[in-house]
């Protein structure tokens, strides 16, 4: 593997130290680099986040936050495998472009800014958002609804950077690596890749601003990838290395994790690895933000609202049902819209009588894709997009 766990212990050294014998004083840098849970010192995350994992931090937005067109940075869900890298490892940050290119590039942050600036809106959603709803249950962070946000991203096109380097004849994939490192050197690095067509797509962005602010550390400062329409596992944070190559990235996080069956499978089934393909595009999805699950709501007029988004194309319709899908009623779509962004929606349910109700929401996109009643089971619990549902108690 060409990337070193710099300032880290080899497995052997680590074991030796565990086993005892030698007294070794680590340098402050070593201690800091091992202490990936030290996080960033940024203490601005909203305290109302749902903590799925406290170290490394995985934070989910509660559903009621999914009512704004742009998700504020301090309310945007947080997910990574190892937590942010140490600040010192980013001190002399550079972006390396290598592999099958005509000319290797080493770009500083100011070099990057010489490329044409691009701003776009895009949903970023963890591919495991909704994993908690799969039955039988599958391992992994048990995200429910809120591992998703919509932001305005500013950066430069990945394609422009690759064009400057010049693609070689075997350029089929671009491998992505960030500066984050696991606690133990024996844990595989988070190495991902995207196909060259997606890398050269004009909306695939090396982003350094989020909602008009410098990218926060928890969201990948100084540079992360944004792949509009694709799930978050491709949107690698703290980027340092782009490698152009013929093959998909090797290693656990590309070849084992973040893969789904290419054919429908029985729930709970074991699937051969040759039948699994990488998670890429997000399927059409709507989420009910309000009322909350189990809420007591005063009868008369009940307002139901939320967000809807899809991978390619745009949301053309969101429908609400109060009778388990027998009748569907069109919700009003919000005015703010952009390719790859989400669309707010709202349905005003008038003449509501007291009782317990299940409310369903269902989105349809411009390709005619509609949310299913149940998402086909997959062993990683990825890409949940079933019709959303809440139960509420309407009181008199």
């Amino acid at each position: 593997m060409p990337y070193e766990h710099s300032n880290r212990l080899s497995r052997r050294e680590f074991l030796l130290r565990l086993a005892g014998g030698t007294v070794v004083c680590l340098t402050a840098e070593e201690i800091w680099s091992l202490a990936s849970w030290a996080q960033t010192g940024e203490r601005t995350s909203d305290p109302e986040f749902i903590t799925r994992v406290s170290r490394p931090q995985d934070l989910e937005s509660p559903p009621q936050w999914l009512t704004s067109w742009l998700t504020p940075n301090n309310r945007f869900f947080v997910r990574s495998h190892f937590g942010p890298p140490s600040p010192s490892s980013l001190k002399d940050w550079q972006l390396h472009v290598e592999g099958d290119v005509k000319q290797r590039l080493t770009l500083s942050f100011s070099d990057l800014k010489t490329f044409e600036a691009v701003t776009l809106h895009a949903v970023v959603q963890c591919s495991g958002n909704g994993r908690a709803f799969f039955r039988p249950k599958v391992p992994g962070a048990q995200w429910e609804k809120g591992a998703v946000g919509n932001a305005k991203w500013t950066g430069v096109r990945l394609g422009d950077v690759l064009k400057r380097a010049g693609l070689g004849s075997k350029a089929k994939h671009v491998q992505l690596l960030g500066a984050d490192r696991p606690v133990l050197p024996t844990v595989p690095l988070f190495i991902r890749s995207i196909p060259i067509e997606k890398a050269m797509h004009p909306t695939t962005l090396l982003a350094h601003e989020m909602n008009g602010e410098p990218l926060p550390m928890l969201h990948g400062a100084p540079l992360r990838l944004i792949v509009p329409g694709w799930a978050g596992d491709s949107c690698v944070k703290w980027l340092t290395h782009l490698t152009v190559q013929e093959e998909e990235a090797d290693g656990f996080y590309m070849q084992t994790a973040y893969r789904i069956p290419m054919i429908p499978v029985q729930p709970g089934a074991t699937i051969h690895s040759s039948q699994m393909i990488p998670v890429t595009e997000m399927p059409v999805k709507s989420i009910i933000a309000r009322p909350l699950e189990g809420a007591k709501v005063l009868g008369g007029t009940v307002q139901v609202e939320g967000v809807a988004f899809t991978g390619e194309g745009e949301i053309v319709r969101v429908q609400i049902s109060m009778d388990e899908g027998k009748q569907w009623h069109d919700a009003d779509l919000g005015e703010e819209r952009a390719p790859y962004a989400w669309r707010l929606w709202r349905y005003v349910w008038k003449g509501t009588k007291p009782g317990i109700y299940t409310i369903l929401s269902r989105a349809t996109d411009s390709r005619g894709h509609t949310q299913p009643m149940v998402t086909p089971w997959n062993p990683g619990g990825f890409l949940w997009n079933a019709v959303d549902r809440i139960r509420i108690n309407v009181t008199g």
Partner: protein, 210 residues
């Protein structure tokens, strides 16, 4: 103007801390465990498993990732194998202890994770009294090697966790016991995994280090 007195602030803080501890205990374990002044009522294998979770699993990730899972034995075996493959220091016999614990508490039909605080006020029998057990450093050395070395390093010189050799906290009984029993930051709570006597043994050994 109303100004809270120092003791009042302190007792308010204590109440807040105790509430916090109650939440932590139940949320870290997903169930309420009755702890009457120590670990007397927890079976030995459970204590051993909790010790392994703290010392071998929580080196890399917090316990909440574990206790939110609801999996059958086959899946738990696959996960433990993956972690061992990735460097978790768990021997085959320890794996068995861990697996039994995980499949007993976090199987497919286990109740959903408790997010609310309940259970007894833990450790109150110890906190605030001067009657900590007297430790024996010989036993403490072995306990440290089994439970603490992964984070605090050989001879407690510090690694992911802080250096403990000659650390002033060793002389501050209240703060030391609170940190060990209830955890702090990345430090897991050891209340159910180690007995007060065992903690005192570790403390005694730490005090022998330069």
């Amino acid at each position: 103007m109303f100004r809270p007195s120092q003791p009042m602030v302190r007792s308010l803080l204590t109440i807040v801390c105790l509430i916090g501890i109650g939440i932590r205990l139940t949320s870290a374990l997903g169930e309420s465990v009755v702890v009457a002044g120590g670990v007397g009522e927890i079976p030995t294998t459970e204590r051993q498993a909790l010790g392994l979770l703290h010392a071998r699993c929580e080196v890399c990730h917090s316990a909440d990732l574990i206790i939110q899972q609801r999996l059958d034995r086959e899946k738990w075996i696959a996960i433990v194998n993956k972690m061992v493959h990735w460097g978790a220091q768990v021997s085959p016999s320890e794996q068995e202890v861990l697996l039994n614990y995980l499949t007993t508490h976090y199987h497919l039909d286990a109740p959903p994770e408790q997010r609310s605080a309940k259970g007894t006020s833990p450790g109150s029998a110890l906190r605030g009294t001067a009657s900590y057990p007297t430790g024996e450093s010989r036993r403490g050395k072995a306990l440290f090697a089994a439970h603490c070395v992964a984070c605090h390093g050989v001879d407690a010189v510090g690694m992911m966790g802080p250096k403990l050799a000659a650390n002033p906290i060793l002389l501050e009984n209240e703060r030391f016991w609170e940190t060990v029993l209830d955890g702090r930051g990345a430090m897991p709570p050891w209340r159910e995994a180690l007995s007060p006597q065992e903690i005192a043994d570790v403390l005694a050994w730490l005090k022998t280090l330069e």
